[in-house]
């Protein structure tokens, strides 16, 4: 395997062929094959347009993909922790491991010795392709995105190589979360990273993915994919905390597969970037499985956040609960589009979906489109969405205690978010997310 470090392929996406994308790297066969196939699919598929329901409110034509310089992540290197990462870690609670990624390339990776001894594997996707090709291939193939996400998913896979692989063997309970930092530094690039999280039966794991960059002066796209799998009785908590700077457009495709009696919590927080889209699918694959899907966003300026979800009940007796809350000010905008799909055999499904929006300004705009598609007949499902403003009575009460209108509004946003934050099981993770939100809304 080559050890050379690839920079951005010296061409734009429009001019790139697969060989330039590979950047002269030799790579493990499993990855090369998957990438080649994905590249062919990517070049064959048209970009989704605003005519498709899933992209009606987020116009991909406004993203200059063709002019971006694709980055194919090189093999992992071992750098020291960057200062800002060290700073965050210093203020966060306990952790079992740390991963730092630069445009997808693993630049630093550490796993607590005791956790490693218990059989937990944490490595780069590249190394995983060498050592665990079957597991990786299966997870990627099982994550079949819907037609609307296929183009971006194919591009993500074509660039695959960046990201990390976390594997927790049967019955192993990790004592603390893995904290990963996805750093984007180079303006004008198109990069991608994958978060692979797998818990065998009875395993317990928690991961926090933090996405960050400075304000970049040219349009930059960060793609992200996550495959999160819990086998029978596993418990997994996954947090994606997006706090990119301006200039970044971000697309994340997340696939959860919940096996029999497993419980998987996903929590997406969108705070930064110019545009942030997340396609999140939870597949309730085994009877008794439980998926909790949570999200928070706070948009200001002209930020645009788009969350698109699917709760797919493929097995009976499963439970899924989605609670997404967003607040917007200035000319911020957001979209929530969610679907509960219950297959014919998925009797005794319990599925809920709630999206609440709080608008702080005249110029802010939220769209909420919850939906149901039920083929079983013995189910309990509900869905609902609200879009509202802060209550005058609450605002006056807070202002009458000396808070400025801005402070009062922001405190109310915090109160509005608290219900969702409170559902994060791990206290350390909750504290980190709360801190990042506080920083963004500026109390």
């Amino acid at each position: 395997m080559s050890t050379m470090t690839a920079g951005p392929a010296e061409s734009t996406l429009a001019a790139a062929d697969f060989d330039t994308l590979a950047g002269g790297l030799t790579e493990p066969e499993a990855i090369a094959e998957a990438r080649t196939a994905a590249w062919e699919r990517f070049t064959a598929l048209p970009w989704p347009t605003k005519k498709s329901e899933e992209w009606r409110y987020t116009d991909l034509a406004k993203v200059g993909f063709e002019a971006l310089t694709p980055v194919v992540p090189a093999p992992a290197t071992a750098e020291a922790l960057p200062a800002d990462v060290r700073d965050v870690l210093g203020r966060s609670g306990e952790r079992a491991g740390v991963v730092v990624l630069r445009e997808g390339r693993v630049a630093h990776l550490e796993l607590e010795a005791g956790v490693a001894r218990s059989g937990v594997v944490l490595c780069s996707i590249r190394d995983a392709a060498d050592r665990h090709p079957e597991v990786l291939r299966r997870a990627l193939l099982e994550a079949q995105p819907g037609p609307a996400e296929e183009k971006l998913w194919a591009l993500h896979l074509a660039l695959l190589g960046g990201g990390y692989f976390l594997y927790v063997p049967r019955g192993v309970e990790m004592p603390a979360p893995i904290h990963a930092f996805h750093i984007v530094e180079r303006a004008g690039t198109l990069s991608s990273a994958h978060s692979f999280v797998y818990g065998e039966s009875g395993a317990r794991a928690a991961v926090i993915d933090e996405f960050l960059s400075g304000d970049l002066d040219a349009e930059t796209v960060s793609l992200h994919g996550a495959t999160i799998t819990g086998e029978g009785g596993a418990g997994i908590e996954y947090v994606a905390l997006q706090r990119f700077g301006r200039g970044v457009k971000r697309f994340s495709t997340q696939h959860v597969t919940a096996g029999r009696d497993s419980r998987v919590v996903t929590f997406n927080v969108a705070l930064g970037g110019d545009l942030s889209r997340a396609d999140i699918t939870s597949r309730l694959d085994g009877p008794g499985s439980d998926s909790e899907m949570l999200a928070l966003w706070f948009g200001d300026s002209d930020q645009h956040f788009d969350h698109h979800t699917l709760q797919h009940h493929a097995a009976p007796h499963a439970h899924s609960d989605l609670l997404f809350k967003g607040a917007l000010t200035d000319a911020g905008s957001s979209v929530f589009r969610g679907l509960i799909r219950v297959d014919k055999g998925a009797q005794l499904t319990d599925a809920y979906q709630t999206n609440r929006n709080l608008l702080l300004s005249e110029g802010a705009h939220a769209s909420a489109l919850p939906n149901l598609e039920i083929e079983a007949d013995d189910v309990r499902c509900s869905h609902g969405a609200t879009i509202g403003q802060v209550e005058d009575g609450q605002l006056f009460y807070l202002m009458s205690r000396g808070l400025t209108r801005r402070q009062a509004e922001r405190l109310l946003v915090f109160g509005f978010f608290d219900e969702v934050l409170g559902r994060l099981p791990m206290e350390g993770v909750r504290a980190r997310v709360r801190e990042a939100i506080e920083e963004k809304i500026g109390l």
């Binding site: 209550e391 005058d392 009575g393 609450q394 006056f396 009460y397 807070l398 202002m399 009458s400 205690r401 000396g402 808070l403 400025t404 209108r405 402070q407 009062a408 405190l411 109310l412 915090f414 109160g415 509005f416 978010f417 608290d418 219900e419 109390l443």
Partner: protein, 257 residues
């Protein structure tokens, strides 16, 4: 005598966008260090006066003025009035789910300190604990969401807690006594008295229907509001007369004018 702490002259107000006047020419002076009781029948405009003093945006002042420490406050936003030293203990405090009392009050305390002068977490915690002890509140209360699911009495106590932490120059207490059991009433009243002792210039405008609280917080003056005006003012004994005779005699007197 120096200028009054609060001076209200010919104040007229109505609900913004509607016709009927609620306050129809209110005159009232509160000197520093004085306690004034404001009584009067339901719907006579007491809470409206309190909210207009605090700057509630639902009301429009059509005439008159409100001077606080000699300054016209009508142009000030509610938060500016608060930072200037006006405090309103609400008759019906708002519920703020998701925001803890501690978080809320720390934000409020820091809002009146300059940037960079914010109180540190421990200093604030000490103050809060001390005031909660004074009001015999369970320490766990600080972590509860503001007024969310509070009993009527708990809400009232929480209002006085805020006053104790924020240390205003003027406290307008709108029926803080109603809904309190006799023990709670004593605790709240002694809390207010302690604040007066700590700050001899503290002015209090105490809106109430009952003489009961006036046994614990002695008023310097008692006023009766009828149909949007102060119809009668007197010493503490006026409250006794109202308790004994009700408002009938005043209704007749007002009607006779």
């Amino acid at each position: 005598m120096s200028e009054p702490l609060l001076s209200i002259r010919g104040l007229r107000a109505k609900v913004d966008g509607e016709d009927g006047e609620i306050l129809r020419g209110v005159d009232l002076d509160v000197q520093r260090g004085e306690v004034h009781a404001l009584m009067g029948p339901n719907g006579s405009g007491k809470s409206t006066l309190a909210k207009v003093i605090a700057g509630h945006p639902a009301y429009e002042v059509t005439a008159g003025e409100i001077l606080f420490e000699g300054e016209d406050v009508l142009e000030l936003e509610p938060d500016e009035r608060s930072r200037a030293g006006i405090f309103l203990a609400f008759q019906y405090p708002a519920e703020i789910p998701g925001v803890s009392i501690a978080n809320f009050l720390r934000t409020a305390v820091n809002a009146r300190l300059g940037e960079g002068e914010e109180m540190d977490v421990f200093g604030f915690q000490r103050t809060l604990t001390e005031k909660m002890e004074m009001l015999k509140m369970d320490p766990g209360f600080a972590a509860r969401y503001v007024n969310d699911g509070f009993s009527g009495g708990e809400k009232k106590r929480n209002e006085i807690l805020q006053m104790a932490v924020l240390r205003p120059a003027l406290g307008v207490l709108d029926e803080t006594d109603s809904g309190l059991d006799i023990d709670a009433l004593k605790i709240v009243a002694s809390g207010v008295n302690r604040l007066s002792e700590a700050d001899e210039a503290l002015g209090v405008l105490l809106i109430t229907h009952y003489k009961r609280i006036l046994n614990y917080i002695r008023p310097d003056r008692v006023h009766v509001m009828m149909a949007g005006r102060i119809a009668e003012s007197g010493g503490a004994s006026l409250a006794d007369k109202l308790e004994a005779e009700g408002y009938d005699w005043l209704h007749r007197a007002v009607a006779a004018v």
